[in-house]
């Protein structure tokens, strides 16, 4: 399992230096995620879920420990290399959608491609196909402000797929949505998972846990429980 893992972290520690005190947010975490999994990370607020996800997403660096993403050691990469990792291998979905207001739906989907040097004219088809995939074919020219929350999150999802990443990281993607809209978004994630995408999602809801192939429970910077669906089904049976 370890060798084929898409994500492998070993003895990962994250400590914030707050001047007088050292705040350790992640304590010696080790975790492997195999391709095609749908991992739900759960835990109380402040337990370090977002911090972990940011490190997995190459947005943040661990204080110590090793992180290997898709066979590459990310731990001591420079800023530009990390940007490339994010731009080429990772798709982000945020709780606040984080679309760029002055850009249209298609243009928003295109942003990750733009940073890989592709002009919109070169990959408009791809962007429109992605919009179609999340059910927004008729909103291509709309601005984010003209869309509902659910629609915005769909755009964000399409955008996360633009560079055909090895995994999608989502930090409470349904946190700002009502339950039925949230469910539609989760359906989309399930669909992607069914198509073989690796998904790591931070969540509070049990509904996600039900869809996930694996649930990682965190508490105070540690993994306190790590259950795969197979184990769960066995336990439930």
């Amino acid at each position: 399992m370890a060798s084929g893992a898409i994500i492998r972290i070993e003895q990962l520690t994250k400590t914030y230096d707050l001047g007088e005190v050292q705040l350790t947010v992640l304590r010696s975490l080790s975790l492997s995620i195999s391709p095609g999994s749908f991992v739900a990370i759960m835990g109380a607020s402040g337990s370090g879920k977002s911090t972990l996800l940011n490190i997995l997403g190459c947005l943040d660096r661990p204080t110590s420990g090793r992180y290997v993403l898709a066979g590459m050691d990310v731990s001591d990469m420079g800023d530009d290399e990390l940007s490339d990792m994010r731009g080429q291998r990772i798709g982000f979905v945020f709780q606040q959608y984080n679309l760029i207001d002055q850009l249209s739906v298609v243009e928003n989907i295109h942003v990750p491609l733009a940073y890989q040097g592709l002009g919109l004219s070169e990959c408009r088809d791809r962007c429109e196909a992605l919009a179609h995939r999340v059910g927004l074919s008729d909103r291509l020219g709309h601005r984010p402000k003209q869309l509902s929350g659910g629609q915005q999150q769909r755009v964000a999802l399409a955008r996360s797929l633009a560079n055909d990443p090895v995994m999608i990281l989502a930090d409470e993607p349904t946190g700002n949505l009502d339950s039925s809209t949230g469910r539609e978004i989760l359906d989309l994630f399930s669909e992607l998972h069914a198509q073989g995408k690796t998904i790591v999602m931070v969540t509070h809801g049990d509904e996600v846990a039900a869809r996930a192939t694996r649930v990682v429970q965190m508490s105070d910077g540690r993994i306190v429980r790590d259950v795969s669906r197979a184990q769960r089904e066995m336990a439930g049976a």
Partner: protein, 431 residues
Amino acid sequence: MNLPMLLRGARAGVASLLLHKTRSLLTMLGIIFGVCSVIAMLAIGEGASFEAQERIRQKGARNIILRSKKPAGDATAGGAKRSYIADYGLKYADMERIRRSVPGIVRILPQRIEPKRVRFPKHAECEVVGTPPLYREMTSTEMVEGRFLTDWDEREQKNVCVLTEDLARTLYGHVSPLGEEIRVANRAFTVVGVMRELSRVYHTAAGGGAPASEGRVFVSLHTFRTHLGEQNVRRSAGSFQVERVQLSFLTIEFASENDVARAAPLIRHALADLHKKQDFVVEVPLDELRALEATKRLFSFVLGSIAAISLLVGGIGIMNLMLATVTERTREIGVRRALGAKKRQIVEQFLMETGVLSVAGGLIGVVVGVFFPYFLSWAIHAISGHAYRVVVTPWSVLLALGISVATGIAFGVYPARRAANLDPIEALRYS
């Protein structure tokens, strides 16, 4: 960065600026005014010296001009009225001496100029110019009809003359004066030509209440000498004075400007023992031109610097706008970083916006700035009646545009770097 990427970036920059149209426009105004004032200031500086430069240039950059001057001590200023003879100025002998002792001379044009009165067919004040035929080659003149003086006129001391167009008009109206006889100072001359002087750079020192000249009569120098004489008698109540002057001007043309630079002291030296009194002056148009150019450079530099300060203020305006923009768009920057933007690409994005702002401001500034000086000149003329000349030179436009773009970019660097160096996580969390 290649061209399509640049264009893409510029389009994105325009789109971002259009988000805050008023704010962007106001910021651009700073650059517009800056560019405009740089061009205007330089145009004023250029215009201020333009006419003086032209005048000097007409004297010829390869020429040195010697002018007879009444020595200060001989002036009639002495309270007691008495009569005397003043013998001063350049002599024929001087001309020969200069020709022998100063290297690089191509030719020398001697002139004798004296105000006289035309008595027939009408009374008119004029200047009689005694000159060899060379005059026409060495100055910018144009024959209207007839011919100019010839070597033969000179050798034979012919009583022929050439009139300037204005004088011909005064004396004969629209009838051709060719073949007519005019009478100047009790001498008759036959008119053989009418000419137009395109620029007149030699004048007699028309002081002492001499009446304004209505034109000029050209006769050969030799004729002047024998028929009009070298003595000029000026009478005033109870006294008279006689001035004896051989030549009014010597225009010495050199082969090159280098020869001119060396010649002035040599000329002074050559004439030193013949002219104990200061009875001539040496004009070196080249020196005047250089001095004027130096002054102009300084003038333009000072004016330009003042204007550049307003560009600087424009630049600070840009920086102010961009800093506000960076703060406002912190989260966007975080998002872009998360989606794969490198620091360099963030810098480029923001620099592109300042670039668009300053180039657009610069171009508008140039368009306004090219017309503004002429408007200013017109307004000054309309209000005060003074003709105020301005000259917009291409280099001033390029300079202004260059400075504006440079300012925009320079002041854009700090905000852009600030944006790029934001911590992506902090930026994403910003609300």
